[in-house]
């Protein structure tokens, strides 16, 4: 039985193994086009939705793009009274809070993933994985409340005074301890993105060939050196995990809005309040009157959308690179 005989029409689908008998095959052939059309429609919907979002957001921000132009991205004055809009403080706030989250979460996350993939017993591994999934399932508003009521008082009374006293020479740690600000947002975001980093890095580590480990051990490497070899092989995949986590941090709205302090001034200090792109949209959209004001807010959404697309594309490319296009690992990411 040749494969090509089972296909409805040449070039319409990937060849697959054939198990059905002649009768079933005929009935299947009749239903095949409908089935396929339905699935195609489902897949097309996704594209349609994305295209519609892009179109609507671009249309909404057209007035702002036309009026303000590229200076929108480099101007730092966001002043609804003067009808003057520059998104730089929000772009800055989004990037810095997300980077801070990565700085805190990446070492923790990769360390935890290595432990889970290489060292942990099955029992411990499943317990830690369960806790990680729990972290991922907590709604972001809960993180926000925790950051506001638990983390902020501790930062204000303990960590921030210590940072100011000991590291105050660095502009990063200058200012007054308020508990609310960039540092708080970074810590909350770090906790929120930790599960993403851990679970994907663990998958990637497990997907590296066993032979790598066995070969390095056979060559006399220590356990740590063997893990180093595995990590090296998994590096692009882990990078992909990190970039996906970054994607989540960039877009997080509610929790960040509650703890970042919502100030549209750019400050070098992590203790100062700041604002992000998503937080300013959440804050100001409902009460924005005036066409240019609304349009400028929608343009921020457009910028955020562009940043998200770039980040996701980067993640895809990296995961593809590390796995040589193997679908199982790619799908895990």
């Amino acid at each position: 039985m040749s494969r090509s005989a089972t296909r409805a029409a040449p070039g319409t689908g990937p060849p697959g193994p054939v198990v059905a008998g002649p009768l079933a095959r005929r009935r299947g052939l009749a239903l095949d086009p409908i089935y396929k059309a339905l699935l195609q429609a489902a897949a097309a919907t996704v594209f349609l939705v994305v295209a519609l979002i892009v179109f609507e957001v671009a249309r909404g921000s057209w007035l702002s793009i036309k009026t303000i132009g590229w200076s929108f991205l480099v101007q730092s004055q966001w002043d609804p009274v003067a009808d003057h809009y520059g998104a730089l403080p929000y772009v800055y706030g989004t990037l810095v809070s997300s980077l801070l989250a990565l700085v805190l979460a990446v070492p923790l996350g990769i360390g935890s993933a290595v432990f889970l993939a290489e060292l942990a017993s099955h029992r411990v591994g499943s317990i830690v994985s369960f806790v990680m999934e729990l972290l991922a399932a907590i709604p972001s508003i809960v993180y926000g409340i925790w950051g506001f009521f638990v983390l902020a008082p501790w930062l204000r009374s303990t960590l921030e005074p210590w940072l100011i006293a000991n590291w105050g020479a660095i502009p990063l740690f200058r200012g007054t301890p308020f508990g609310i600000g960039m540092l708080n947002a970074g810590i909350v975001l770090a906790i929120m993105i930790l599960p993403t980093i851990v679970s994907i890095s663990r998958e990637v580590l497990l997907a590296t060939p066993r032979t790598l480990r066995e070969a390095s051990l056979a060559l006399g490497a220590t356990r740590a050196e063997a893990i180093g070899v595995t990590l090296d092989a998994a590096k692009p995949g882990i990078l992909g995990a990190v970039i996906l986590a970054l994607g989540r941090a960039l877009g997080e709205t509610m929790a960040v809005t509650m703890v970042i302090g919502n100030s549209n001034r750019i400050s070098a200090s992590l203790l100062s309040p700041a604002a992000t792109m998503s937080s300013v949209i959440a804050n100001e959209f409902a009460e924005a009157t005036g066409d240019l004001y609304l349009s400028a807010l929608i343009q921020i959404a457009l910028v955020l959308f562009a940043v998200t697309i770039v980040v996701n594309a980067l993640a895809r490319a990296l995961v593809y690179l590390t796995t040589g296009g193997r679908r199982d690992v790619g799908a895990a990411a």
């Binding site: 609804p80 009274v81 008082p153 308020f178 609310i180 809005t257 959440a282 924005a288 009157t289 005036g290």
Partner: protein, 354 residues
């Protein structure tokens, strides 16, 4: 698939038709009005709409999506009337497709809640001190400019953290309108709006965000609605008004502020009522408005809207104070009533002249 689509289309049409039916009826019982806008008066409005439905049978569906959204929807013609905490500026009035009338319904005040451990008596702020705090010109509570209003009171050597609303809000509009009224520098450098570019301090989302921040942080001060502060028993500052007196924010001192501005409101109902001259007036007060197209397509709806407003500014006022809104003084009710006679349909006033 086609059948499925046809079913969906039919269902949508049926629902639409049913909605259309209930909207007929010409102003009396069974009329349904839709409205959207301000969140600040929503607790009162929902009570009003409920009571008014019991009384007249007119149903009003209100979405409290924010003043900005209410104005947008009125502009797009998707609601029968809008509601906003801030009146439309001349520019924004020109952007509207039809002439729009403003009807103040109730008043509110913006109060300053603070967190100063150990301070027994209410904090008193001079006009200058308040501006200085929010511009970042005073940074410590024991500064001479704050002590000036609190003679004989020991104020702590504590950093001041001014807290403002991070979300666009009518409360911010009233507060910044006041700061602009008392300080030329503020007016030139920051101005007044639902959102402004704050020179200082941190932002909390909503009244609860600001109040939460103030409760948590010793040395902080933040502005919230009077109703919110009263319901949560926050310590609030007494402010020096234009007559030089220190006034506690209450419903009575808010109504006094509206009353003191009645003459100006009769000229233009959009005039800010902050910084009122009367000695018993609390200085940071504002009105919330219903926004109605002056000339209406549907005479029945127009009549229903006008009758509702007539009821709300008279009988409805009794419901305001239990919910911590300041009621309108009689002078301003008369201003509203004069405007009601300007609601027309096809050029004819919808309410019989009184």
């Amino acid at each position: 698939m086609h059948r499925y689509v046809r079913f969906l289309v039919t269902a949508v049409l049926l629902v639409g038709a049913a909605g259309g039916c209930s909207k007929g009826g010409g102003g009396g019982a069974g009329t349904t009005l839709t409205a959207a806008g301000a969140t600040f008066p929503y607790p009162l409005y929902s009570k009003w709409f409920d009571a008014y439905k019991q009384k007249s049978g007119v149903q009003i569906n209100y979405q409290s999506i924010g003043s900005g959204g209410g104005i947008q929807q009125l502009k797009a013609g998707t609601v029968d009337f809008g509601a906003s905490d801030a009146p439309l500026s001349d520019d924004k009035l020109r952007e509207m497709p039809h002439p729009v009338l403003h009807f103040p319904t109730v008043g509110g005040a913006v109060v300053l809640a603070y967190n100063l451990p150990g301070l027994k008596q209410p904090l008193q702020l001079t006009i200058d001190a308040l501006v200085a705090i929010y511009s970042g010109k005073v940074t410590k509570w024991n500064d001479a400019r704050i002590a000036a209003g609190n003679v004989g009171v020991a104020l702590p050597d504590l950093a001041i953290l001014p807290v403002h609303r991070s979300d666009g809000s009518g409360t911010t509009n009233i507060f910044t309108t006041y700061l602009s009224a008392i300080s030329q520098t503020w007016r030139d450098s920051v101005g007044a709006n639902t959102s402004v570019s704050w020179p200082n301090g941190i932002g909390g989302k909503g009244n609860d965000g600001v109040a939460g921040q103030v409760r948590q942080t010793p040395g902080s001060i933040g502005y919230v609605e009077l109703a919110y502060a009263r319901q949560n028993n926050l310590p609030v500052a007494h402010l020096q008004n234009a007559a030089g007196a220190y006034v506690e924010p209450t419903l009575a001192s808010t109504t006094a502020a509206i009353q003191a501005s009645a003459a100006a409101l009769a000229q233009d109902v959009r005039t800010p009522i902050v910084n009122a001259k009367a000695p018993d007036a609390y200085p940071i007060a504002g009105l919330t408005f219903l926004l109605v197209d002056a000339d209406q397509q549907d005479a029945g709806k127009a009549k229903a809207i006008a009758q509702f407003i007539q009821w709300a500014i008279t009988d409805g006022q009794a419901m305001a104070e239990p919910l911590f809104y300041a009621k309108l003084p009689p002078e301003v009710v008369r201003v509203d009533q004069a405007a009601l006679s300007k609601i027309t349909s096809g050029g004819k006033p919808v309410l019989a002249s009184r």
